[in-house]
Point group: C2
Chain length 441, copies 2
């Protein structure tokens, strides 16, 4: 005979996760990002995903890439398949200096550290600089992947206002002073000067020296993240912040958007003393970045007109940007606002007052369109009336269809709002209808 | 006219590293490892390196690998070159469960997380579990790369005694109790049960259940690192600790020694709750491990007799082990001791009393032979009378020549010691002769 015992709440909790009391304090800050969750949504063919930031690599010459890589195996296989240097393949680091020269950067390959995508560069820089409680300054909004890193290192993010010309210098100066006045330590300013993810804006040429001067005066290191800089639609690449400030800027670059993300090859260019620490951090993290990936990227750069390929990418993304902007103009309610990016992947869209983008997402997914709610791009809960729309991946026709569906969802939400006169967030979340499963949100 | 000013010491320090006061506390623990420094030595052709742990991949069928990879680009290029899942490619994770089945592990692909080499798995596990000051138990000696990770997360390593049968159960129990009695928190036991790096020993079949029972009773999680398990010379793979303890063991594996390290593909198999945290940590660290590398490894496994290849590797390493052991027997002074590994890459050698392996290294390099001093494998300064010799990479002839040179150096050191009757450490370091440049040590 068995006796039914009352459930011990402690035990019941431990059945869910027996390790719950053992994790590091930093692990509490690791939660599933909204972008991650949306990968699942984006993969359903009936949904038009305006959410993900996957580059459109359909135009890559597979024969060239395949040929370069099989030559690599045949001629340098034993080197490509072996361990390599923690800093990265020297020849690739030379080529990286040539890529950066397009943005006015004069650098030596010795100061380049190859990373597993530029995401890992953000991780390693944060690892060597940030103690728990340190402050990192970020644009408002900022890249969700970087915010996740800062959170996982228990940093406090302080957002700095942007406008149509990028980071606002006066806001930066005030922000720095306020943080210092509170007795807090600022470790760096994390900024995406070109074709910002998610805001779509670019730091103007006039403001660049001003931002650098403020950071120099205030002793704030700049972490310049530039995955999209070569993907401008209407003009040549702008001069990088790093080009005018070699000692005060750590520059991050990536081949994920100008070639392909599947190799996970990014880099950091840093002042020599910082670069030495980054190499040690890389060795501790991975021993060395993948030698095969690096040599594959290097072979592609050596054997292909990579600048011509980037030109094709610019055309492809410009066409999609145009499709999105014209669809928005044609189809959205007049109270919805957005910017017109001149490069990169993203449009930042703001809903009329009272409409909550996060609360609306389940209804949008039901209507077979996906986006990323603005709250994902703030460390502090702001952004609920905004969303990021990406035009990089779908065809122009699908983009228009996605915008049409989204406009319908917004109109319905506005109608609901005008009928009930309340913030739809509480209403929808309370009602709990149309909510997708845990694997999709 | 310019006025010469006296040097400001603060400024002079800042010229060396202007960021010296800005790094995180953890960065103080990041220093160049002895193994890293030795890469530079090993690459000079006139030196016989018995230092590095580079696998000997000269036997890999380049035509098969090249063919599989160019097929991959042609047939699945757009997938292989795109972003993927943070957890890793599903098909590869299935194949990984088949690899682990050779060691008695029954696992589901859902519980596998692909990492950038198993080094990154050590990093991610430590990241999610360890706060500064937490204790990690390690064998004495232990793998230098893992010790570096634990140091970079500001953990305290407590070493547990090994003998010819591996970790000593009584020492483990006493160690755990002593740490607990001191009020410290143990986060896990890090252990390499098979063909230990650097000690060359294997945990006996009899001890395995005993070690697991102690950890279960004491509530200590086990981190089982097993890069060499399939590389035994005389018998089938032993049953993994994880095979008998699915909930209390995180198992780490790697393709670096059974296929090739240049793809940087390793993995962690973890209980579901821990695995979820590892995926989040991986996304924060890299977004996703390299898709191309993973699919290349997967294609190799699918298209090649990988188990036959491992058999060839076992023959190759057995031949080299034999060369090293017979050279040691023939050439070393009788007071030098070593073990005979039955798999893996390493011999652990102990010098007669009074001879310091670290202090002797510059003289050895001058005599054109390199090894890793034992101190690299201890977190606490022990190991000065020992060294790790690896036989994985050089030819049998070169191994014998390297041992001959090393024996000469040891004999000279012993003579010096018997003449001056003092620990040679102080003498050599004080004299500062025969010291290679900073780029080689």
């Amino acid at each position: 005979m068995t006796i039914e015992r009352p459930i011990d709440p402690a035990r019941s909790r431990s059945v869910l996760d027996p390790y719950v009391d053992r994790y590091a304090a930093r692990t509490a800050g690791m939660t599933a990002s909204e972008i991650r969750a949306l990968f699942a949504v984006a993969s359903r063919p009936e949904v038009v995903s305006l959410a993900g930031g996957m580059p459109n690599i359909s135009g890559l010459p597979l024969d060239v890439v395949g040929g370069a890589i099989s030559d690599l195996v045949a001629t340098q296989g034993p080197v490509a398949m072996q361990y390599g240097s923690g800093q990265g393949v020297p020849e690739l680091r030379e080529q990286i200096t040539e890529v950066m020269a397009l943005e006015g950067i004069q650098a030596h390959a010795d100061d380049v550290v190859v990373t597993v995508g530029s995401q890992q560069a953000v991780d390693l820089v944060t690892r060597i600089f940030c103690d728990p409680g340190d402050v990192v300054l970020c644009e408002a909004p900022s890249y969700v992947g970087a915010l996740g890193v800062f959170k996982s290192y228990q940093c406090d993010v302080v957002h700095i206002e942007m406008d149509g010309e990028g980071l606002v210098p006066a806001a930066l100066r005030n922000g720095i002073r306020a943080v210092k006045a509170a007795g807090r330590t600022i470790k760096f300013l994390y900024t995406i000067p070109n074709f910002h993810n998610p805001a779509g804006v670019t730091l103007s040429a006039e403001r660049r020296p001003e931002i650098l001067a403020i950071c120099r005066e205030e002793g704030v290191l700049v972490l310049e993240d530039n995955p999209y800089g070569l993907l401008g639609f209407d003009r040549e690449p702008m001069r990088a912040l790093r080009a005018d400030e070699p000692e005060g800027v750590i520059y991050l670059g990536s081949f994920s958007k100008t070639f392909a993300p599947g190799f996970r090859v990014g880099w950091a260019l840093a002042p020599a003393s910082v670069r030495e620490k980054l190499v040690l951090a890389q060795e501790s993290a991975t021993l060395c970045p993948p030698q095969f990936s690096q040599m594959a990227v290097s072979a592609y750069l050596a054997n292909h007109d990579w600048q011509g390929q980037i030109k094709q990418f610019r055309e492809l993304y410009r066409e999609r940007r145009d499709a999105m902007i014209s669809a928005l103009s044609d189809l959205m309610p007049v109270t919805v606002r957005w910017n017109v990016p001149d490069g990169g992947f993203y449009v930042w869209l703001t809903l009329p007052p009272g409409i909550n983008a996060k609360a609306m997402l389940p209804r949008a997914v039901t209507a077979r369109v996906a986006y990323v709610p603005g709250t994902a791009f703030f460390a502090d809960g702001f952004g609920s009336s905004s969303m990021r729309l990406s035009y990089c991946y779908p065809t122009p026709e699908r983009i228009r269809e996605g915008v049409r569906r989204l406009a319908g969802v917004i109109e319905a939400e506005m109608e609901l709002h005008s009928t009930f006169g309340t913030d739809t967030a509480e209403l929808r979340l309370g009602a709990g209808v149309d909510s997708p499963g845990t694997d999709t949100l």
